[in-house]
């Protein structure tokens, strides 16, 4: 990748929406999903359908999305354990004696977690990191934090490449695999990596100072989003809010 995060570099209407709109849209959407009662199944079907539509419009290849879904594996394991450990009334499913609230809870975690991850994949796959930073800046994230974030994103590949070279050097000296005796070699490399990163940070700062840096980074973005862009970007989120409200009303 280098500086591109998980961006899938194609051109689509979703790619063209300004990052700040997508950030707000993602947040509103996920909040709507989280506040939907778990037992209202049709609401989650609608959310999923809208997300799939957005993924199609964004021209994201399905294998990429499904591969990136693997990130939630640990919590799938946790969710699948829930029906066995939760208390409350039991039901029999396929010959298993399960806790009813556990089954619903597992569904709750799986559905909301998966929807959240797909929505986040949609953001990260259609937005370049620097646009994301500009979006965060437009959303009034503190300037210092944006500066730290931008340096992190900018030097992530440098630091990882450092780490990779150290690993090649270490393994070519025979320190491979998981033997406990190799901890010192691995940790020594990581310690050296910290010293290198720290010193690089000092050098970068001095270079910035000598080029006139006074403690304020130049703004990343200049133009705001138009009203129609906001409307376009927030379509799914507003629909999700409407569904969440409807689900709440039904659940009462």
């Amino acid at each position: 990748m280098s500086g591109d995060g998980l961006l899938v570099a194609v051109d689509s209407p979703v790619h063209r929406i300004p990052a700040q709109v997508k950030l707000v849209a993602l947040f509103v959407f996920v909040l709507a999903v989280v506040s939907t009662p778990a037992a209202i199944f049709w609401a989650f079907g609608l959310y999923a359908a809208m997300l799939v539509a957005a993924v199609v419009v964004a021209k994201l290849p399905a294998p990429v999305v499904s591969r990136r879904l693997a990130v939630e594996t640990p919590f799938i394991v946790f969710a699948l354990l829930l029906p066995f450990v939760a208390t409350g009334p039991r039901i029999d499913v396929l010959g298993l004696h399960l806790s009813q609230s556990g089954v619903l809870g597992a569904w709750n975690v799986l559905a909301k977690g998966t929807l959240g991850v797909i929505a986040a994949i949609l953001l990260s796959a259609t937005t370049a990191p620097r646009d994301l930073l500009a979006g965060l800046e437009r959303l009034r994230l503190p300037a210092t934090l944006v500066a730290i974030l931008s340096f992190m994103v900018r030097y992530l590949s440098v630091v990882s490449d450092d780490l990779h070279r150290m690993r090649v050097a270490r393994e070519s000296r025979g320190y491979t695999g998981g033997r406990a005796g190799h901890l010192k070699a691995v940790a020594g490399g990581v310690g050296a990596l910290f010293v290198r990163s720290f010193e690089r940070g000092e050098r970068v700062h001095l270079a910035m100072r000598s080029r006139g840096y006074t403690g304020r980074m130049p703004l990343l973005s200049v133009e705001g989003a138009t009203r129609s862009q906001w409307l376009e970007g927030l379509t799914i989120s507003l629909a999700a809010v409407a569904i969440a409200v409807a689900a709440r009303v039904v659940a009462l």
Binding site: S35, T87, P89, A106, V117, F151, G215
Partner: protein
Amino acid sequence: MRIGRNWIKNVGVHVPDGFFDAPTSVATGLIAAGAVGFSLQRANRELRETGPALAGLTAAFVFAVQMVNFPVGAGTSGHLLGGALAAALVGPWTAVLVMSTVLLVQGLLFADGGLTALGTNITLMGLITVLVGYFLTKALLKVMPRRAGSVVPAATVGALVSVPVAALAFTGLYAIGGAVDIPLGKLATAMVGWHILVGIGEAVITAAVLSAVVATRPDLVYAARHLRQDLVLVDADGNTSTVSPDRPIAARPAGRSLGVGIAVTLVVAGGLSLFASAHPDGLEFVGAKLGFDSAAKNSAAAGSPLADYGVHGIGNAEVSGALAGIIGVLVTIVVGLAIAKLASLRANKAS
């Protein structure tokens, strides 16, 4: 580059969306935002001196190192969470910013950890591990020999304790805003038991990495900066004189930062318990609803109120139990810090 291939191998213990109910997510979001704002203010002087590049590079370092497989013995390998290590290396406030940055990038750029759970993730992994790790390290340093090398065992204990405390905080959050009525005693035991193991791995890795840094550049280790030895100069005639090292820019009276740390932990703990009493039935909602449903199905008239009562009773007892646990841990830390403080006062008086 490698991140594209390896990012799935990342520690992956981030809380996803929907794991906690919306009010809990909002509450932890507020705690996280407050903590980040406070840290920005506290780290302001350092950041003005060293620039945002250094914090950004430290964040990139933490992100990269979280993907390293460390062999931790018994044929297993462990991953580093890095909260306690970052705190020892760059100080608590910068470390909170660094860990928050890492979690933000993981959530937004790598879709790891839900966006509504970002506050929870920052509170657990960016705030609690860093502060517990750092203040425990500092407290232990006060009672240990005044050498830069002392920071290694001190931070090891800090790392060891910080992970189970975060797991306990997770259990406490689950008691307040979890969606399913798991018996919380069991959950707490399982979480803390498992995370003591994780904490041992964290401690081993933290010790190994920190001792590597102390061996080469002890002056870079924030927690040990005040322990640097005076420079001994010997002139041509054999006269010796000592020069004390420059005061690092971030050196502030320890008492104040300790006080602030305790205040922050108490505010966090207090905020959580307040939230618990303001919103007592987050846990009960699904359970009560289900108790009602199952009673209708089983046509056992006594089932519904009993089930409801059971959930209710267990829920409350366990909520208070989990909170008592967290508060107990915090009180232990505070008492420990107070003892260390007293000891250092006496040591100062004696010298």
